[in-house]
Symmetry: C2
Subunit: 423 residues, 2 copies
């Protein structure tokens, strides 16, 4: 039986219209061109990933949102299946990081070291549908694998900010922190190691519920009032720059390793000295970032005219080892591609150096020699880099021309059989 | 329970290595740039499509190869599920044409008419894994919707061949036929309309089993020997050009409409007169093309040094009507992107005007002022369009340099603290 056809895209996913696609194509090309000057090379993994890899506890809550793929052919035994695991062998990837770790584990011998990876691709999450968020969305990640030094962080931040600058974004801030600074501050105030994750999840709400809200929640969870007060007091004493880090280094003493503080200072001063465009760079000791796989530096880009981050990343030195048995230093920066495109569309962004658009309108039943004439005119225009449309004239030519003008065709040529050979 | 992690990609799918990705990125950009000069605009549909649309009998055998997606949350009722339909609500698209028809049905009011669509995207088919064919592969389609005249065919063929020419392909042939010529020849020889599809499937084997093989199979199926002989004799009489079409027009009489023969002649002479690069254009009355949705012109590109086609397409005026209730003229040309890339890789294709690659090797524990110096040298190189890599020196520097040279870094700068400020 043939079921009724559906016109709308599947729930929570989006058809891309030509206007948006023009911006998307431009941004993707710009990203690739910019990142390649930084020595990143394109790579890709399949959109479908082993269900075992997707459910390996590295994806956090995203593992609850997987689009799962049914086994095929003889492997699918519907009658005897007891639970989902009997039915499913794959899923759509929910990020580009877990597949990258698998890829590196599979191909490390054939890849340069360090490996500077550039990935642009769709990911899928079966989130509750909501305005402006979709269940298929594009991610754009750069990662440096096999580089233990701060050079990785410095180059990732320089490349990402250079790219944002080329899209004319200026009012943005890069916030930076380190998981080890988060831990050192908690240790200094007497929190126990097993409570860190819980404390950080509450701390992460600072920008939403404020310092008092965080204090209240921590006390409600049963933490000691004096530890909480000392902890939150610390944040007031720290300036969002290199001197803030120096202050912490002195204050926290043995709780904070010298190399962590010095490394953070080095990243900040290097980026400040070599950045390609103008932006604010802040040390933010309240920055947490959700993913549990981060092991060191973490960073995030926020825009003044947009709540929430437009890019984020950090160091995750323990993930690849889960695939290979041997830890490999890894650090990455992911752009919220959909948010960037949304901001550009909202700001009425104009692509620089668009090609000129020209349309030829053909009289109905134009004789063959007239068609050939127009095809050859168009050929010359195209060779000169123009975008050329050849269309048959409609009954309502005035309306047709208005539509073409609205689509950006600034040059429109009427072609009639009597005059065509004179063009 | 955490399952063991898998390093290989899922069965039948492929990790893309940097060398191949460089070619893929280049070809994708070239395709977009070329097709845009022909007035095509990018568009995209989600990779996940309604299972109803995928199983609507328009995909032929591809419908047996769908990667199906499990329902999620409360919609999934494992206990009471009786068959697959109870478990599944979506699938990965197996081509870009069915989703395009849905897209056009959904958005026609917001799209120009005719709509010239350019789609580049992955599709999935759970084919038996075999060498060189993968279960996820990229397709690249151009389609013109809403254009009933031959202008559609002419522009599709000109654009596709222009693009192949820009990749330095010259030894290729565009074969062209029309479903209505196929039918007219069969009708002329006395085959019944209900048998056409069966006859054409056998005819389609001509290049594999030869004329005698086709004759044998047709007779085995019970067709009249004299009809079969007359039918196959006809093919001998036709030259692969405009005069072959003229011959058929005269010979077949009322079985072939004048407009079909004249239209085919017009397409061939227009393309010959306006083509951007050198290739052979042949009328091929044995060309069938599998998809049952074609309603008129069909075409295919073959390469002399590659068995099988590298691109194909045709007119399908009845598909959009299945979504909207109203037929819309439609014609498309799809490139076998993976085959094109494979041929380029096999031919050792060199991307023109690659950017220069430069690497800075940093002495171990380079002091901060040295790092800043190198970052700023790199910044100037990048601004000049170079691809720049900054890496720490390894113990075996000689080997490291050989590796970098093999990766195309022709300029390699040793950076030591003592000499760095003189660079």
């Amino acid at each position: 039986m043939v079921m009724a056809l559906k016109k709308k895209p599947v729930t929570g996913m989006k058809d891309m219209m030509p206007d948006e696609m023009e911006i998307r194509d431009y941004v993707i090309h710009l990203i690739k061109e910019t990142y390649k000057t930084y020595g990143f090379t394109s790579m890709e993994t399949p959109c479908v990933e082993h269900i075992e890899n997707l459910c390996s506890k590295q994806g956090g809550d995203n593992e609850k949102l997987i689009f799962k793929i049914l086994k095929r052919g003889e492997k699918l035994k519907l009658e005897t299946a007891k639970d989902e695991a009997d039915l499913v062998d794959g899923g759509l990837r929910y990020d580009l990081t877990v597949p990258l770790a698998r890829y590196y584990a599979n191909h490390a011998n054939d890849l340069p070291s360090p490996f500077k990876a550039l990935q642009i691709g769709n990911v899928w999450r079966a989130d509750r549908p909501q305005r402006g968020r979709f269940r298929q969305f594009m991610q754009c990640d750069i990662d440096i694998l096999g580089e233990a030094s701060n050079l990785a962080e410095i180059e990732l931040i320089l490349a990402t900010t250079a790219m944002l600058g080329k899209l004319d974004f200026t009012n943005f801030t890069v916030k930076i922190n380190d998981r080890n600074i988060l831990k050192a501050m908690a240790a200094y105030c007497g929190f126990k190691e097993e409570d860190y994750d819980e404390v950080f999840i509450i701390l992460d709400k600072m920008d939403k519920i404020g310092k008092d809200g965080v204090a209240e929640e921590l006390c409600e969870m049963g933490y000691d009032r004096s530890a909480v007060d000392q902890y939150l007091g610390l944040f007031d004493e720290i300036t969002p720059d290199v001197s803030g880090i120096r202050y912490l280094k002195e204050k926290l003493g043995d709780c904070l390793k010298d190399e962590t503080a010095d490394g953070m200072g080095q990243i900040i001063s290097s980026v400040e000295a070599a950045k390609e465009c103008d932006f604010k760079l802040q040390f933010d000791p309240t920055l947490v970032r959700g993913q549990s796989y981060y092991t060191g530096t973490i960073f995030e880009v926020t825009m003044d005219d947009f709540g929430g981050s437009v890019a984020g990343g950090g160091r995750y030195d323990k993930m690849i080892g889960k695939f290979t048995g041997q830890d490999t230093p890894a650090c990455g920066f992911s752009i919220g591609f959909e948010r960037i495109v949304m901001l550009l569309l909202e700001n009425g962004y104009q692509i620089p150096s668009k090609r000129a658009k020209k349309a030829y309108l053909l009289e109905k039943k134009m004789p063959q020699e007239g068609i050939l004439k127009v095809l050859n005119l168009a050929k010359a225009d195209r060779a000169a880099g123009k975008q050329v449309l050849i269309v048959n004239m409609k009954k309502n030519k005035k309306f047709q021309k208005e539509q073409l003008a609205a689509d950006g065709y600034e040059e429109i040529v009427d072609c009639y059989r009597d005059s065509i050979m004179e063009l």
